[in-house]
Homo-oligomer: 317 residues x 2
């Protein structure tokens, strides 16, 4: 059977992997990052790859923006665990005829973002292939185990919040694909995504479950619910969408809410908070965790079960 | 300029990266793996990717052998630092139409080798691309800083040793490429490379510099010399080459010594040892570290400077 027929390749990989036996593995496969204990410290580890024509196209991105994005997406994963990024390895696959200047510019982008977060490139690997791939593995550190945030800690009755507006990155991509002029801010949001974990750092202690938005709100809430053994309802009217995103959606003949729910790559944080802690956090309240399974959306007086699980790289190209 | 014109992409990447500032980074870019200090422990980190048609072809490899190889090459890098492998992340790039059974078999291979070394897969990432890529990032641990071995610690006068015979893996690849029947052992050595760090563990303390043979003896000795600011001489007649490798070379109309020097993927260890420690180590003595720069080969009464730096993935396909 072809993988494109079954979809859900994540579920397949999960099925193919075994549960950790080592007691120093605090979290194995299934969250934004893995967690291991080293002495009395906790390390958070993640890996994320960008592929040309799947995650970026040099038609739209400058090589420097590609380098920046490769680091930001990993920083976002580390931050979504409540940790601080520290070190990373870069594994490059270079097409035979790539210009040296492109590689230099990618590294300039990597440096700039490294400097911003005071993180360091400690090693890597270079090999050759048909398609440009920038695969980064990142290591973060956490001092207090209580700061660690998992997808699996949502409780029935929790409010679901997001740290900022959604859908603008997807709007940016669609504007490029449809060759539409203008909309600088939206295009920049797509080309230069930024990790947002600084937004939630002041109130990490008041958060139950957390994840970053790489595949759209609907997909991320579904992941929280699957791992927490809960359901959820999302209030369509409460999802924060900027006027420019709505305008771009209109001109692209697309749905702005669709961008927010299924668009992905906004890298805002989605987090669930108990009622008693609601006054201690910031963000946009977009839904509730429910005992009833499934993720539903409340829109125009009706509830609908969400079946399309967000942004799918198979559909993207 | 195209990267294929300048070659030496490793040197380019090194030039593009900055020196580590964090004092917990014991070793950054430039060795088999990076080393960071976490509390009073030392972690060793490496990443290595296998690409279809560059590092393996499913014409010769079973998917299970691909999975095994992906783990072994990383274990070899960790072992070459004197460390013990512990955890790893798997970043997969899957072509859209790959059979699910292939992925399952790759994971079976990953499991089998994980079990052998008691190491665990703690996470990863799946994405889609044109070419199958298995990119593994591995973390190892070292208890005693003195066990750490670098490429840069060779001293003038050191003997150069290898832990086992060389060239058989390259012979295996050539036999496949030339459609030659038989030679099971050589073909298996190519299809199922194994890390060899257990061979040097008993006498790690007596080793100065160390590296694993992934790109041929000539290339690895060159790396040691570059990092140690020395030169070396390799005695052609002392390079351990098995009769089957010689026979395979003959039938392939290739040079067995060439397989050993430039063939790669034997994953034996190359290490340098001071005279006073020579009686404490095992292995085949193949050369000497010299003050005079450059790597030379002594063959049939003559010395020649080595200019071809081993196995090149650009030339392989």
């Amino acid at each position: 059977m072809k993988i494109s027929q079954i979809g859900g390749e994540f579920a397949l990989i999960k099925k193919l992997t075994t549960k950790p036996k080592d007691e120093d593995i605090i979290k194995g496969i299934g969250d934004d990052a893995a967690i291991i204990r080293v002495g009395n410290k906790y390390l958070v580890l993640t890996t994320d790859a960008l592929l040309e024509e799947d995650h970026f196209s040099l038609k739209y991105f400058t090589p420097q923006q590609v380098g920046k994005k490769a680091v930001e997406v990993n920083v976002s994963d580390i931050g979504a665990m409540g940790a601080n990024p520290k070190y990373f390895l870069v594994s490059l696959v270079l097409p035979k005829n790539i210009d040296v200047e492109i590689i230099e510019s990618i590294y300039e982008g990597i440096w700039k973002v490294s400097k911003k977060y005071t993180i360091e490139n400690i090693g890597g690997n270079v090999t050759h292939g048909e398609q440009l791939v920038i695969d980064i593995s990142m290591i973060g550190e956490i001092k207090n185990k209580k700061d660690l945030k998992f997808r699996s800690d949502a409780k029935t009755g929790d409010s679901i919040l997001v740290s900022g507006d959604l859908g603008m990155s997807a709007a940016g991509l669609n504007l490029f694909l449809k060759n539409i002029e203008g909309f600088k801010e939206a295009k920049k949001k797509y080309l230069e995504p930024k990790a947002k974990f600084h937004k939630v750092k002041p109130f990490l202690k008041s958060i139950n479950a957390m994840i970053d938005v790489s595949d759209g709100l609907a997909s991320e809430v579904t992941r929280i619910c699957e791992q927490s053994n809960t359901g959820a309802i999302i209030y369509a009217d409460s999802v924060p969408i900027k006027p420019m995103t709505k305008e771009a959606a209109k001109i692209c003949e697309e749905d702005a809410l669709g961008f927010a729910l299924y668009g992905g790559e906004d890298f805002e944080l989605v987090y669930t908070v108990s009622e008693k802690n609601l006054s201690k956090v910031k963000g946009f309240l977009v839904g509730k965790i429910t005992e009833e399974k499934g993720v539903r959306i409340y829109k125009e007086g009706k509830e609908e079960l969400i079946t399309k699980h967000g942004y799918n790289h198979f559909l993207k190209v």
